[in-house]
Symmetry: C2
Subunit: 391 residues, 2 copies
């Protein structure tokens, strides 16, 4: 009997960071990647290049693994079930994963559990929108029921005219009220097959154009009551839905309380801060959970941790020579400058090409004073992206 | 221009942990390993199996690397120089590495720099020992001038009779006084080609049979004066010897002050605690140094950090079914128990077979109270090794 082999479907940064956690535990993550230059495929020893939509590729990948888990939600549910039916251990399982893959099923299930969610309805055509708008008013939010991420698959529309091209796209849609939110929060927990669960402190997530740009741990000024409510909700959902591994519950904080926005059943951007900011990172915890080890302590290691995503250069920003991986020379120069500027900032790069808007890394600052920690994280991310210090 | 490629000669746990640090920096360590099952070869993407004593293998490995560095001292100096002469960037360079490879040259150089070292002499035969004993008395310490590690290549001898087999071995030897030491310390620093240097707090290292079993950071009860002296000494040696990368200076603390015992120019066991216990780990720092990035902050993240080495089972201890990698089943069971017992303990396993006395991993505990932190680290290492809790 050799080392337990954990296979992760998807070769993105979540696999990449999970591989580092696996390495410390004496393991080596096996990765099913779309391409040899995927983020995790660049660093993991056991890389299989294949299609996550091909049952043959999935079965052949799973054959060498004691447990198969995921760095994204894009493996069709029928294939996840087929893997299970062939006797493979898949965690989170298909019955849970369903609710991270299909927003309509998720909304219906949460509603039936008595969990507050934005008002929603399935949309077949323009008439459904009119009916929904009659109750909730415009603007409304259209969402692709499956396949969206990082703001993709979400459209805020003011009227039928703006909705028309989305309705015409043929994508299965649901409509939601545009929630008047104070801010977004995330409650991240992990659960093992044994049923043990552990929660990290609730964080504030800051979005820009549907993409998370900053996470503050813990959420500043959050009342103990709301923090407890959010943690309890996430722990309850992990249990009710039978999640194994990390569960991230994205929340809207409103004047009336908390609404669940999205669920993710894998390591999640809102918990990258745990690598340095908590005694057990979400990546180690996900592995502990899917291997049914007792979970690790989620105690913070500093009063404040702020993670800022490093996005590829935006319009008008200098991404270096060409904005592709060829831009590494310029990124490298910026790294030098940033390391000299802030020797305590932690930089994580994913080995990805510098495409506009793409998450190519993140930086993490930790410390005693929120303003200072936040400024350092923002400085780091802004400088690496643009080559200029924020004013 | 692609990512900078750092190559590390040697596939042990130092390479393994350096690979995880490289992964965060957007890199992927290339490893020259003796065998495909070497610790780092199990987890790194770019593994070349070859001999570190073969110039052909070294040249072919170096061809794809921007910089070549080492996880051990066993590459012959002539080959390191040959790599440099072929135009490869090798860090630390041969002129520095010499003093980590040859204890006699090291002792002579340090003596000429006015640094306190144990009394020593080269040994050609029994007559040299008698002459040395006349001045310093028995017992004496014989050391292989090159190639020793973890207590190997060191013999404490009471008389000529005990020395005879060592003298007859044909190994080039030096003799040293047996220093009446209070305890052992280590001062670990890093230095970049630019000349920037940074020191971690001085630690106490606890040895058992010449093998490090425990490291306490910072060294308990060490006066500020001695701590500063040790740090200054290590920084001065890094500069005088032209070290690039991590330099570990192993020290004897005696009633009269500090003596230098050994030098290592690579990530070192006495600084594994920095993975969780300092803002920048020695592995990240070594990479920053050899890539000539500005160095990271060495600030501790907790008042006390204790690292305990996990050694393969000793005589009379139950290492599981057979004491080989087949013992993973038993180690896995112990991991479950330990994780349940202490959810905040950090476990690092190297993917190595469970051979007696071999370093197969380490555990790290952090916290406010030294006694508690030390107890937790010892409990963890003892339980994983023996399957029994310490009394």
């Amino acid at each position: 009997m050799g080392l337990p082999v954990v296979g992760m479907v998807g070769g993105g940064q979540l696999s990449r960071m999970t591989h580092s956690a696996a390495t410390a535990l004496g393991l080596s993550l096996r990765v099913l990647a779309d391409a040899a230059h995927d983020s995790a495929a660049l660093v993991a020893h056991g890389v299989v290049v294949g299609e996550h939509t091909s049952l043959a590729d999935l079965l052949s990948f799973a054959a060498g693994c004691e447990v198969v888990t995921f760095d994204h939600e894009h493996v069709p549910g029928s294939l996840v079930r087929a893997l299970e039916q062939e006797g493979h251990r898949v965690l989170p399982g298909s019955d849970a994963l369903l609710y991270a893959q299909d927003k309509q099923l998720m909304r219906e299930r949460l509603h039936s559990l008595g969990v507050d969610v934005p008002a929603f309805a399935a949309v077949g055509g323009a008439a459904d929108l009119d009916a929904f708008a009659a109750e909730h008013g415009w603007p409304l939010v259209l969402k692709a029921a499956t396949g969206g991420y990082d703001g993709k698959g979400v459209w805020v529309v003011d009227d039928q005219q703006q909705a028309a091209p989305v309705l015409a796209s043929g994508v299965r849609l649901l409509v939601e009220e545009l929630v008047p939110l104070r801010r977004e929060l995330a409650a991240v927990v992990a659960r093992s097959p044994y049923g043990q669960a552990a929660a990290w402190p609730v964080v504030e997530t800051v979005q820009d154009g549907g993409v998370c740009v900053e996470v503050v741990a813990p959420a500043p000024g959050l009342s103990e009551e709301l923090a407890l409510a959010a943690e309890s909700l996430a722990l309850r959902l992990a249990d009710e839905l039978g999640v194994v591994g990390v569960l991230a519950v994205e929340l809207f904080e409103t004047a009336d309380g908390l609404l669940v926005n999205e669920l993710a059943m894998r390591p999640h951007n809102s918990a990258h801060w745990t690598i340095e900011g908590a005694r057990t990172s979400q990546f180690e915890q996900h592995l502990r959970a899917v291997l049914d080890y007792p979970l690790g302590a989620t105690t913070p290691t500093a009063p404040w941790t702020v993670m800022a995503n490093l996005l590829g250069p935006q319009d008008g920003e200098d991404g270096g020579d060409g904005g592709d991986v060829g831009g590494r020379g310029e990124l490298d120069r910026r790294l030098h400058m940033l390391f000299a500027h802030d020797p305590a900032l932690k930089v994580h790069l994913y080995g990805k090409a510098l495409r506009p808007g793409r998450k190519i890394g993140h930086v993490t600052a930790l410390g005693e004073h929120l303003d200072d920690v936040r400024r350092r994280a923002r400085e780091g991310a802004t400088y690496l992206r643009s080559g200029s210090w924020p004013r």
